[in-house]
Amino acid sequence: MRQEIIFAGFGGQGIMLMGKVLAYAAMLENKKVIFLPSYGSEMRGGTANCTVIISDDEIESPIAENPNLLVAMNRPSLQKFEMNVITGGCILINSSMIDQHTSRDDVIKKKIPANTLAAELGNEKVANMIALGSVLELTGCVSKDSIILALKKSLAPRHHDILPLNKAALEIGSERVE
């Protein structure tokens, strides 16, 4: 098993958190994993992306050279990274922010209206966890329980009241991806 996933969006969408939580969950499942963030020099409003490689074998280069999944949370991210995805790979778009899917016909096209569903849940901030739920559904790379455990371990106990909301977001994301 090897997954190379690009998460991309703009600063403030929780892009880095998606990657970090996934990496943490993979570690909890004793998988080899590497998380690599990339961002401009802007504090906010700039582009933000990160890659997560999860593997059963040693991860040599930290650079994801053959990404099999792109999670595009906004339109510029889709345009920037859609050509990087390998043939037969998958592009997941946040259809709340992107009205037109990739023109590539050699990849699997998936979408999730992450912001719309997050707003229905009552907190638009969990759009990233909804998209992450879709990632789990599409790849099966880690379990939902591991993500929740990763969140629990990385959040201070005073923030644990948001765990049920995040769990619901993950579930909606995995159910509604199409």
């Binding site: 994993v33 590497i34 998380f35 990339s38 020099s41 040599e60």
Partner: protein
């Protein structure tokens, strides 16, 4: 042992704290800001002192002061900031003050770019500051190694009363990997040379000023003799060199890429091996030279236009060709483009 998920920067900082580092002085610069950020949070928990200085020059001189009292102390910076620290590093080396200096390389020259690169090999390995001095330079290539080598760097610094440099790059500093942290160090060497208000001993002097030239020459000879002893600390790692027709030499993040290149080269029938220097000073000259009889050509993969390659050439002389492979300014070499260049040589 329990694994933790840390950035390279955080692993360096925690490795230092576990090694007994209680003082950090620095000035912010990307891509290593997570090091001071981590210390700012962590050092107060262990009665340590974090101080954001007014400049890199101030920070390195604070290291001089704290190190002179025998404390375990560290500073960190990135390329333009490291340039500013060089005067202080020269003074620390002459005055034989142990300390750990972390250099996280980014694209240069000049203000350059904030992405990871390896253009400061010469600066760290060949001097950087003025005068005759040598510092041990350790080059981690994984987050685990970032923690372990920083931890060990404090012991090396104390053992030789010498600055030790950790030379990493922006990729290593930013990426996260699961690691197992070393145990908290409990016993520390005695430092009878330190300035510690002990009234029951003759006065200690720590200085890099020797206006009488014969005295300075004696100091330089002694430092040089110490450098000869420090050469015993040379470390390297190898991958599939036993039957290799070709050898790629690479350190840090480049060595990670080189590992993937070795595996893929073998899949297409090219017997490629990797030699990864872990110490850049002392450089593993003998280990590289020992491969000459079996090897047709060497490659130096580095994210610079060719700095470490000069040491590879010193190691093997003109006995075999050495080819440079690299990308610059923060562009990361790709596995397939590196393999293409090696294939072009191997298939003639």
């Amino acid at each position: 042992m329990e694994q933790v998920l840390l950035k390279g920067s955080e692993a360096i900082a925690e490795g230092a704290v576990l090694a007994g580092c209680r003082f950090f002085f620095g000035y912010p610069i990307t891509p290593q800001n997570e090091i001071p950020e981590y210390f700012a949070r962590r050092l107060p928990q262990v009665n340590g002192t974090f101080l954001q200085a007014e400049s890199e020059i101030a920070a390195i001189n604070m290291v001089y002061g704290a190190g002179g009292t025998g404390a375990r102390v560290m500073t960190s910076s990135s390329s333009p900031g490291m340039s500013l620290k060089q005067e202080g590093i020269s003074y620390l080396s002459c005055a034989e003050v142990p300390c750990v200096i972390v250099s996280i390389m980014r694209g240069g020259p000049g203000l350059g770019a904030i992405q990871g690169a390896q253009p400061d090999y010469f600066q760290a390995v060949k001097g950087g500051g003025h005068g005759d001095y040598k510092n041990i330079v350790l080059a981690p290539s994984t987050v685990q190694e970032a923690a372990d080598l920083t931890y060990q760097a404090f012991d090396l610094a104390d053992k030789y009363r010498n600055p030790v440099i950790i030379l990493g790059d922006g990729i290593l500093a930013q990426m996260m990997e699961p690691i197992v942290l070393p145990n908290e160090k409990q016993d520390f060497p005695e430092k009878n040379w330190a300035l510690n208000l002990d009234k029951n001993r003759p006065r200690n002097v720590i200085s890099s000023s020797y206006p009488i030239v014969e005295e300075l020459e004696k100091v330089i000879i002694r430092l040089n003799q110490k450098a000869e002893i420090m050469k015993g600390e040379v470390r390297w790692d190898t991958l599939q060199v036993e039957d290799a027709d070709y050898i790629i030499v690479a350190y840090g993040t480049s060595a990670r890429i080189a590992k993937a290149v070795v595996r893929q080269a073998r899949e297409i029938g090219i017997k490629l091996g990797l030699l990864r220097p872990i110490t850049l000073w002392p450089f593993p000259y003998d280990a590289i030279y020992s491969l000459v009889p079996q090897v047709k050509a060497f490659f130096a993969l580095e994210m610079s236009t060719g700095q470490m390659i000069e040491d590879v050439k010193i190691a093997i002389g003109r006995e075999r060709p050495v080819y440079h492979i690299g990308r610059y300014g923060g562009v990361i070499p790709r596995v397939n483009e590196t393999l293409e260049k090696i294939t072009a040589v191997a298939k003639g």
